[in-house]
């Protein structure tokens, strides 16, 4: 927990700097419209990053995420457009496929012990090839021209203002209730919890935040469905990682695989589980990314895996496994998404875009190290160093 506060601070500083800069150079950046669109782009980046987070925790990696995104989206698109399947069915099928394939990769990593870097690098190539085969290098729309369907709605759907407000209200109520209840239990059993002030401040802040989101979003077209999906995924992954045995196993496996194994942690099942969940996430992201560009083309998804890893690491997830938090990952994703959105808004030239992205990536992590110091080695030089 050491330096926890400061590390969150450093994140906030980085983010504020970025937002401030864009707002200054291009006021429209803070317009409700742009923020809504940003939230959709964020959702796509962040969901994939959350999946990557689950894979990084046990000390693995998934380089196939990007091309998997392309493939999943393509399969669904083809099923819908050429085989006239109802969108929900197509999505379900594609998802099932992705989960199976990723679980398979998990087996190769956990049971056959082939380094994940290799397996998923192989996956990257294979899936890209399949992706192009599936769409025959054509452009395959996800829906009959101009129409709409469940698939398209993933990124084009918005909640009605009323629905939005109800959702926000429900969320806040749920959070407040559960957090207060948790605190009560802790205190009852004589463990220390947040003091009263903080305990009431937190739900309050959350409520304000969500209200603000709703307000801004409703000012445009309402809360984007994509954002709701992100929220759901984030809550789910957080619960999974922090509060279920499976989550503990992820951390334990990443922290010391041998010790975990002899403590009765089903190491292999854990790793396979992580990859299976990644499959689920990859499929979901694939649908959203494809829906975002309206059709499946050969370029969908390329290099997204790197963005996902970057988001995780910016958010303090260790590439050696065993360390990381969901809020951190969300923060990291937000930084990446804001960057791209803002630069596009300013019509920055591609070269400059690359340079800026690279610098910010390095800077964010470096800043984090400096201020938060959370990755710094204890005691002797390099005790926990040499980390990628």
């Amino acid at each position: 927990m050491r330096g926890r506060m400061t590390r969150e601070l450093s994140m906030a500083v980085a983010l504020l700097a970025i937002w401030g800069f864009f707002a200054w150079r291009e006021p429209a950046f803070l317009s409700g419209r742009n923020l809504s669109l940003l939230s959709i782009e964020l959702a796509i980046t962040a969901i994939l990053a959350l999946g990557m987070f689950l894979v990084l925790l046990p000390g693995q990696i998934d380089l196939a995420a990007g091309s998997g995104v392309g493939l999943a989206g393509a399969v669904a698109a083809v099923l819908v457009y050429f085989h006239g399947m109802p969108a929900p069915v197509a999505l379900a099928l594609a998802t099932a496929g992705a989960v199976a394939v990723w679980a398979g990769m998990g087996v190769l990593v956990a049971v056959e012990r082939v380094p994940a870097f290799i397996i998923t690098l192989g996956g990257l190539l294979v899936f890209r090839g399949l992706h192009w085969l599936v769409i025959d290098n054509q452009t395959v729309p996800i829906v009959e021209g101009g129409g709409t369907n469940a698939y398209a709605l993933l990124t084009t759907g918005y909640l009605s203002p009323l629905a939005g407000w109800l959702l926000v209200a429900a969320a806040c109520a749920a959070y407040t209730w559960s957090s207060l209840r948790r605190r009560a239990r802790l205190l009852r059993h004589g463990f220390d919890a947040d003091d009263a002030e903080l305990a009431f401040l937190k739900p309050f802040v959350l409520t304000q935040g969500l209200a603000l989101v709703a307000l801004v979003a409703n000012g445009f077209r309402g809360i984007p469905v994509a954002l709701v999906i992100l929220a759901a995924v984030a809550v789910l992954v957080h619960q999974l990682a922090a509060h279920t045995p499976f989550g503990r196993y992820l951390y334990a496996t990443g922290g010391n695989e041998a010790a975990a194994a002899v403590s009765g942690v089903p190491v292999r099942a854990t790793v396979i589980g992580a990859y299976a969940s990644m499959g689920l996430v990859v499929a979901l992201t694939g649908f959203m990314q494809t829906a975002y560009s309206g059709a499946s083309t050969t370029t969908v998804g390329s290099l997204m895996e790197l963005d996902a890893v970057a988001a995780c690491v910016i958010g303090g997830t260790s590439l050696r496994g065993g360390r990381g938090t969901v809020p951190g990952v969300l923060f990291g994703a937000l930084i990446m998404a804001s960057l791209i959105n803002g630069m596009t808004l300013m019509a920055v030239s591609p070269e400059a875009k690359y340079v800026a992205r690279g610098l910010v990536l390095g800077l964010a992590v470096w800043l984090d190290l400096r201020i938060g110091g959370s990755r710094q080695g204890r005691g002797t030089a390099g005790v926990d160093g040499g980390e990628w």
Binding site: L37, N137, T139, G145, G146, S293, A295, E351
Partner: protein
């Protein structure tokens, strides 16, 4: 299967081998090119070996090496990069193999023949159409989406467009409210760009000058979500099926149809002639920096809602059903021949 070694200058009707080195097969259009070309060449009794370089110059140089290794009588090349492939031409000539540049010219090299559509002309047609079909012809606010910054053709299209737009821009009749390069020709980037345009300067523009159908698709997607689709004029190129459907549906105004058929067939015939070392007639010449390359330039066609049937469908490039897919019978024009 043929062994390696240097190609023998095949005489008379000996079975000749044509090497076709494509920049990429990632876009639908190039598959069409390939299929028609191969079909025609085979028809003329030639064997064709096809390689695609996925838009990477290094790979393409390697491809050419491989083709020469296999032993070919003529090299037909679609250079990913006009300047870079000069090296390929030299390699081919070292191996005694004549080279035909297909669709894109190879610069600074002793090229034997250039068969193409005029890419600059494509840009001109796009801009010309846009200018003429603005709500008030010749005046208006437009968004410009260029192709991949790293792709030379993108520059050529832009050049053509600029040539037409220049006077209007000078007079201020046409103003560009937003312009950007769509990295990797990605539709999602095109969508981002249009979104950015709307965010930055509101939905008050009359047209999007997109350089190909892919980016046009991204643009239309953004406009759809904005409820502007159909009201804002969008240009394109390549006559992708999806684009034709958009034109039929009215969300895209035009695309440039390059009668691939004639180009590919023509190129195949010329290639076989060259391989057999027989006479070739090239009416025009294009300067590639080194020489005036004998050239055969095929003309391109502007496809709009009105001439869909007479162009792409008549050519058999796209079928009636594909083009009008998802459009109610009532709204469709009568099926040709009925």
């Amino acid at each position: 299967q043929r062994g390696g070694g240097a190609p023998q200058a095949a005489a008379g009707d000996a079975r000749v081998v044509i090497g076709l080195s494509l920049d990429t097969l990632e876009e639908a259009r190039w598959r069409a090119d390939r299929d028609i070309f191969v079909a025609r060449a085979n028809g003329l009794g030639a064997e064709v070996v096809v390689l695609a370089a996925n838009g990477d110059d290094t790979t393409q140089v390697g491809d050419v090496e491989k083709l020469l290794t296999r032993g070919i009588d003529v090299l037909v090349i679609v250079p990913h990069d006009g300047k870079a492939m000069a090296k390929a031409v030299r390699m081919a000539h070292d191996a005694g193999v004549p080279v035909i540049a297909y669709d894109r010219i190879v610069r600074d090299s002793p090229l034997d023949l250039y068969v193409s559509f005029d890419n600059v002309r494509v840009g001109e047609l796009q801009a010309r159409y846009l200018v003429d079909h603005l709500p008030t012809p010749g005046r208006g606010r437009i968004v410009r989406i260029y192709g991949a910054r790293s792709d030379n053709n993108a520059a050529l299209f832009k050049a053509g467009q600029d040539r037409v737009l220049a006077p209007y821009l000078e007079r201020g009749d046409i103003t560009v409210v937003h312009e950007d390069w769509a990295e990797e020709w990605k539709p999602e980037n095109a969508k981002r760009i249009v979104n950015a345009a709307i965010t930055a300067s509101g939905p008050r523009f009359d047209a999007v000058l997109a350089s190909n159908d892919g980016t046009a698709g991204g643009a239309v997607q953004a406009l759809l979500e904005e409820g502007l689709a159909g009201r804002v004029l969008v240009t394109g190129q390549d006559a992708e099926t999806v684009a034709l459907q958009r034109i039929a549906a009215g969300t895209q105004a035009m695309t440039i149809y390059k009668p691939l058929g004639s180009l590919a067939r023509g190129a195949a015939e010329l290639a076989v002639k060259l391989a057999r070392r027989s006479v070739v007639v090239a009416p025009r010449a294009v300067d590639n920096g080194a020489t005036a390359v004998p050239s055969v330039l095929f003309d391109v066609v502007t496809v709009t809602r009105d001439n869909l049937l007479d162009t792409v469908v008549a050519d058999g490039f796209a079928t009636y059903d594909d083009v009008y897919r998802g459009i109610p019978e009532a709204a469709r024009p009568p099926r040709p021949g009925t």
